[in-house]
């Protein structure tokens, strides 16, 4: 009985490993805020 449980457990673990190895990597979301050439403009004139 104990041996069967261990076999089932390892089989289950094996299946999960195989499935997750084949799965596509998930896309990660990131928002990038970018700036350039502020050129000393702390606040606009006028």
């Amino acid at each position: 009985m104990m041996r069967n449980i261990i076999i089932i457990f390892f089989f289950f673990f094996f299946c999960i490993s195989v499935l997750s190895a084949g799965a596509a990597p998930s896309l990660q979301e990131l928002t990038i805020y970018y700036s350039n050439d502020v050129r000393g403009e702390i606040e606009p004139c006028g």
């Binding site: 990597p25 979301e29 970018y34 702390i42 606009p44």
Partner: protein
């Protein structure tokens, strides 16, 4: 448009809304020009640069690139500035002359919720002018970048380059370094540019002077290169098709439109148009689905430019820094003022008014006639960046004369448009004056940095001093 306090407010708001955010600046942050500062402007420009760094400390930038523009006050001043910055200034090719070691952090890896983002920066060749008498020098970036990409790519999920190189060099990088996923470029004068996919790298930049903030939202997996976001395209087409189907169903529920509407040509025409559009959309959906099956997974991006409009709210702490800095700049200018000077060949608008009384009276009521007063109201009448466009006879290069200018030359006077009046005053018959200002004259101040909406012909036609 523009202003760091507006940017501060927008970033703060978005940080609350979005889970994973990265904030980078490609450089050219501190000074207006990529050449050594003119002696008369040094004090004010340095105060302003320190103010910008104080503001950026509050904006929580993850990394900022070093450009020739940032070195305009010299390497020593920049090192002092970098020491008080809470964000890393990056340059991989700016090294110490004696040791050849980097003077600043060459790269960083920023971790955002288990996503590792590598950021490298390169300084453009124009910085060499600013480094000639210093302990720093620029070295060729090719070998450095090859080594860094090789080292960082395996460690990072995403690799970003902050580039102050030329457009040609940036394209070369996109071609030869596919391991760099995204380039933000600085020092390029072409306004906002929607991200361009060059080879396997996304190339981005935003308009200068902080008028806009670039926002690129990405769905990224290292395994997939950049590609079309078919998901959104498909969704939009399906929505349009749903609307068309609903309209068609409403018409068809009354019976066959060819019979029911045979005496209503307008309705029949509308029905035919909807049927044609239905077929078009069905075809487009089929094509998108085919492309989607061919490229099942792509990393995708969506970009927008957030305009820093005057109407936006200000971030209070950043606004305080901005106002304090402006006050310090003005005080510094005031302390530089020496005596009162009249510009050679200029006579002042009041003297013009002795013969041209009506025009002088009209001018007095115009915006040109109150230009200096608007600076006084803002406490910026000694700010060299603003002053030369609010007085008569000066330009960007001799702006420092404005600090001690005779009151008769305050405001944008008659001679700003018509030229110096000395000779004309002495011999009005023989010495003619410029009747209509040239576009070049107006654009010296009304250029796109200060006045986005200026149209020369309209502005001249609307002048109300005649």
């Amino acid at each position: 448009m523009g202003g760091l306090s507006k940017k501060g407010f927008e970033l703060e708001k978005r940080r609350k809304d979005k889970a994973r955010i990265l904030t980078v600046d490609a450089g050219a942050l501190l000074f207006k020009h990529d050449k050594p500062l003119a002696p008369g402007r040094k004090i004010q420009d340095e105060i302003q640069a320190k103010g910008i760094v104080a503001a950026y400390n509050l904006l929580n930038y993850d990394a900022v690139g070093i450009s020739a523009y940032d070195l305009a006050a010299g390497l020593d001043f920049f090192q002092e500035i970098a020491a008080r910055s809470k964000f890393p200034w990056l340059s991989a090719n700016l090294v110490e002359k004696s040791s050849g070691l980097p003077l600043f952090t060459p790269w960083v890896i920023v971790e955002k919720q288990q996503m590792k983002i590598g950021i490298i920066a390169l300084t453009g060749s124009r910085a060499a002018t600013m480094l000639s008498d210093s302990k720093g020098k620029l070295v060729d970036w090719h070998r450095i970048l090859t080594n860094l990409v090789g080292e960082l790519q395996p460690k990072c999920d995403l690799l970003i380059l902050l580039s102050n190189l030329s457009i040609v060099e940036n394209r070369e990088i996109c071609r030869d370094f596919p391991g760099i996923n995204l380039v933000v470029q600085a020092g390029i004068h072409t306004g906002n540019m929607n991200p361009v996919l060059q080879n396997k790298t996304l190339l981005c930049h935003v308009d200068r002077q902080g008028k806009y903030l670039g926002e690129v939202s990405i769905r990224w997996a290292k395994k997939y290169s950049w590609g079309q976001d078919y998901r959104i395209k498909l969704l939009n087409r399906k929505r349009s098709l749903d609307r068309i189907n609903w309209q068609l169903k409403r018409l068809e529920n009354r019976g066959d439109p060819a019979q029911v509407d045979k005496h209503k040509p307008g309705t029949l025409q509308k029905y035919k148009f909807l049927k044609a559009r239905q077929r078009e959309l069905q075809n487009e959906i089929t094509v998108i689905n085919e492309k989607r099956r061919a490229n099942p997974q792509n990393s995708t991006w969506k970009n927008q430019f957030i305009a820093m409009k005057v109407s936006l709210a200000d971030q209070a702490d950043v606004l305080k820094i901005v106002n304090d800095t402006k006050q310090q700049v003005n005080e510094a200018g005031k302390s530089q003022a020496r005596g009162i000077k009249m510009m050679k060949s200029y006579i002042g608008s009041q003297a013009c008014g002795k013969c041209h009384a009506e025009q002088y009276a009209n001018w007095g009521k115009s915006r040109h006639g109150r230009a200096f007063h608007t600076l006084e109201e803002k406490g910026q009448q000694y700010n060299l960046n603003c002053l030369y466009c609010h007085v008569t006879g000066l330009n960007q290069d001799n702006a420092v004369l404005g600090l001690s200018l005779d009151k008769n030359l305050h405001n944008v006077g008659c001679e700003s448009c018509h030229g110096p009046g000395n000779k004309h005053q002495n011999e009005p018959e023989n010495q003619q004056i410029i009747l209509k200002p040239s576009a070049r004259t107006c654009l010296a101040c009304h250029h796109d940095e200060h006045d986005d909406s200026f149209i020369y012909e309209k502005a001249v036609a609307d002048l109300n001093c005649r």
